[in-house]
């Protein structure tokens, strides 16, 4: 009954989305207030219906309703409740439902907080968002319906892939979708503005919070996924340049470019057509991501059971939206004349360079991702493009970006003086150089990767600090003024420093990791980068829906015991899958990572241990980036803009 209600609500939501896609658009064109006003209740209705539908599916999962095909395939009555819930989106159909739920959530959000938007623009934004929703509702209903019943319900389900039964991965998809779909909002704003034929600073201000939010969510989602891969897959890799990962990385890069170029639109009314184009491309990459993960065309011919029907449908959605938006762009681009003027050395120019580097980097990832497909189709060469290519082709852009960032971030708008900026950054540069040189001296005969990474990290962090400090004026109580700086300033500094921390972490881990693979008898020890690890015992334990072999490993340094680690090897009988649970001693400077493997014929155990320097900096930097974004998002001018009618006591804010 509840399932049928959910199904029905989904169909209704589809119909509402269809109407929402048309009526407000006509209304805005004819200036009919009633028709335009229809958008708001429609967006709310769409969200409520989709939420209802999602709740119905969740209910089916929680109560283990094995008359539903999806529940049978992805759940089991013995599974912990948390994973019954997260199992809702641990599969194709359910995750698409989550996707549209977020599409409608963003639509409703624009309806709730879009009070200060001109009515025609608001109507058009919601109409475009309705189109996006309608397309994906149709995709779900016609190709991936989650509400299909079983003719003969089985006694129990087939369980969720054990790899997904993990908190890190459980919340990774929702964040990622919030990011992907958040970009649908900027897309809607871009298309609406093109229809409207008008883009000004106000547009930049409206579109930026959505871009920023999408980028924050993508950062968190990618970070969670990478962290999960690090501790769960069993050898501590954090990024594999897999097509599916690239699918999330490309929108992240483009969103990063977009949120910077939107600043130029907002503050200087330049780069308008470029920003609109980026907004369109960003959502295009989101949809390409959906296509890559769900069609299986690009990934590999070996492991993916591709579904041509779904792939074609997604490709069709992608083509219609991209061709439509780009045609509109071509027709209207010349209506967007830049107003602001700036000299060659200025913040504007620096942001153009930022966009160039991020855009080309995303393009490199894109070409590398689709190249195996292109090469096989057009050149009859079957080949692979993997991590070594991306490391070589992508990294230089990030190095240049890191080098230029502190300089560009401190240049003033309109006209700057590079010598003056360089002077104020000289100590930061010397400090960074010293740290890099120290790293170079301490390592012997290894690649330059580690020192360069540490140099860039230190340069970005200290550059961000100098930038912040320089905003506190020349004299007086600068420390007190530091606390009163606008949150956007803090956000910028924190996010840029976060990028530096991540860069240092990636380089440090890749350059200085050590590992040891050997057979240990119980009671034996091994030494790894100054640590002594002893295999104390190996025991069997029972989990709720798995059995495990657990090793007990004592970690000591200089004869002093630091920690006891419990690496596990689990077996999930229902899914018939083994998993590895690494045990990690987490530290600021390094992780010690232990994995227990198979029993050996001579009674010992295969033990793999890794010393991973700066590993946590990778995710620490991601957290800082997300935090910086959040600070910027909470800046008072957005809150003021949201409730412009209310007068607030105006505090002194330094001019920007």
């Amino acid at each position: 009954m509840i399932t049928e209600l959910g199904h029905f609500a989904l169909v209704l939501a589809f119909l509402v989305a269809c109407v929402q896609a048309v009526v407000p658009l006509v209304g805005a064109h004819r200036r009919w207030p009633g028709w335009m006003a229809f958008a708001e209740p429609a967006a709310n209705m769409q969200f409520l219906l989709t939420a209802l539908s999602f709740a119905a599916l969740t209910y089916a999962f929680v109560t283990s309703d094995f008359s539903l095909r999806l529940v049978v395939l992805n759940s089991h009555s013995a599974k912990p409740l948390l994973y019954k819930i997260t199992g809702v989106w641990g599969n194709h159909e359910g995750s698409m439902l989550l996707w549209v739920l977020i599409v409608t959530l963003f639509g409703a959000f624009a309806a709730w907080f879009g009070g200060n938007l001109p009515p025609t623009l608001k109507a058009r934004v919601l109409a475009v968002q309705g189109m996006v929703g309608a397309a994906f509702f149709a995709f779900i209903l016609f190709t991936s319906n989650p509400f299909l019943r079983m003719a003969v319900p089985p006694f129990d389900g087939q369980d969720l892939n054990p790899l997904l039964q993990d908190p890190g991965l459980a919340f990774h998809p929702p964040f990622l979708y919030l990011g992907y779909v958040g970009l649908s909002m900027t897309f809607s704003f871009a298309v609406a503005a093109l229809i409207e034929g008008r883009i000004d600073a106000a547009w930049g201000r409206w579109v930026r919070p959505y871009t920023l939010a999408a980028w924050i969510f993508l950062t968190i989602g990618i970070g969670l996924g990478s962290w999960w891969a690090y501790y769960e897959l069993g050898w501590g890799g954090f990024w594999f340049w897999d097509p599916v990962e690239n699918a999330s990385f490309m929108p992240w890069l483009i969103a990063a470019a977009l949120l910077h170029s939107a600043i130029v639109v907002e503050k200087r009314e330049s780069l308008k057509s470029w920003t609109v184009l980026l907004a369109i491309i960003a959502f295009g990459f989101s949809m390409i991501g959906a296509f890559i993960t769900r069609s299986g065309v690009i990934t590999s011919v070996h492991a993916f059971a591709s579904d041509p029907e779904r792939g074609m449908f997604l490709l069709l959605i992608l083509a219609v939206f991209m061709l439509g938006a780009l045609t509109l762009f071509a027709a209207r681009a010349n209506a967007m004349q830049a107003k602001g003027v700036f000299s060659l050395v200025s913040r504007e120019s620096a942001l153009v360079v930022n966009n160039l580097l991020l855009g080309v980097a995303a393009f490199v990832v894109f070409v590398g991702t689709i190249w195996p497909l292109v090469s096989e189709m057009f050149f009859d060469r079957k080949l692979s493009v993997g991590a070594p290519f991306f490391n070589m082709a992508f990294t230089p852009f990030m190095v240049v970006l890191g080098l230029l960032l502190p300089l560009g971030a401190m240049l003033p708008w309109k006209r700057g003086n590079i010598a003056r900026v360089a002077t104020s950054l000289r100590y930061a540069f010397v400090l960074a150089l010293a740290i890099g040189a120290l790293a170079w001296a301490m390592q012997s005969g290894r690649s330059a990767l580690g020192p360069v990474g540490l140099f860039l990290g230190a340069w970005l962090v200290s550059g961000a600090a100098v930038d912040l400090w320089s905003r506190t004026g020349r004299s007086g109580n600068r420390l007190a003024r530091l606390g009163r700086l606008p949150r956007a300033d803090w956000g910028k500094a924190v996010a840029h420093a976060g990028l530096g921390v991540t860069m240092a972490g990636v380089a440090g881990l890749m350059a200085w990791e050590t590992e040891d693979i050997r057979v240990l008898q119980v009671g034996e020890s091994l030494e790894l980068s100054g640590y002594e690890l002893t295999l104390m015992d190996v025991q069997r334990i029972d989990g709720p829906n798995y059995d495990a072999t657990q090793g007990i490993v004592k970690l000591a340094q200089d004869g002093r015991e630091i920690a006891t680690l419990y690496p596990e090897k689990r077996f999930y009988p229902v899914a018939k899958m083994p998993t590895t649970e690494a045990a990690i001693d987490i530290g600021f400077w390094r992780d010690v990572y232990v994995v227990v493997g198979d029993p050996q014929d001579n009674g010992g155990w295969a033990v793999r241990t890794y010393y991973k320097p700066l590993a946590n900096w990778i995710w620490g930097g991601a957290i800082l980036m997300a935090l910086g974004g959040a600070l910027s998002l909470s800046d008072r001018r957005y809150r003021v803009a949201a409730g412009a009618k209310k007068t607030r006591p105006v505090e002194g804010v330094p001019a920007e």
């Binding site: 892939n161 991965l169 993916f304 059971a305 700036f342 000299s343 120019s349 080309v360 060469r381 994995v595």
Partner: protein, 158 residues
């Protein structure tokens, strides 16, 4: 990271057995006694694709075939082959599909040059745009239009 998610999304459960989360990869009995040789072996194997897996190198993979290839690489190294000769040996048998870093020859030049060319192209466009904005800045500023004046008043009110 996303590979497992994607698998769950798109794969039938039956295929999941292929990529289990069990870390086996390089086994203790495979490791060569000579650390220098072993390091070369690891370097080479991280650049070779496991043919039956998704985008995984034989260094990371648990598949039986990956193990065979790892042993093959070590065998050739012990026999005295140079790194290039080992890679050549594997490519001769399995085709260039095993290379995770495609060779910059023939049509692959497009792949390798796509980034630099795009950078030059984008750089040229960006440069000319910045020049134009720069030159525009030297012409006298125009007075505010009515709409701009209105907008300015709005901003000042805020």
């Amino acid at each position: 990271m996303l590979r497992a998610l994607a698998l769950a999304l798109v794969l039938g459960m039956a295929l999941l057995a292929q990529m289990s989360g069990e870390a086996r990869a390089v086994q203790p009995d495979e490791v060569l006694d000579d650390p220098a040789l072993e390091e070369r072996a690891r370097d080479i194997s991280s650049g070779l694709r496991c043919l039956v897996c998704r985008n995984e190198s034989i260094d990371d993979s648990n598949a039986e075939l990956a193990r065979d290839l790892r042993l093959l690489v070590r065998e050739r190294l012990v026999a005295g082959d140079s790194d290039e000769e080992v890679v050549e040996f594997v490519v001769d048998r399995y085709g260039e599909y095993v290379l995770l870093q495609p060779r910059a020859t023939g049509s692959n030049l497009v792949l390798w040059l796509a980034g630099p060319i795009m950078l030059l192209l984008g750089g040229a466009i960006g440069w000319s745009y910045m020049r134009r904005r720069g030159r525009a800045s030297e012409t006298p500023a125009q007075a505010l239009s009515e709409a701009e004046a209105e907008r300015l008043r709005e901003i000042m009110k805020e």
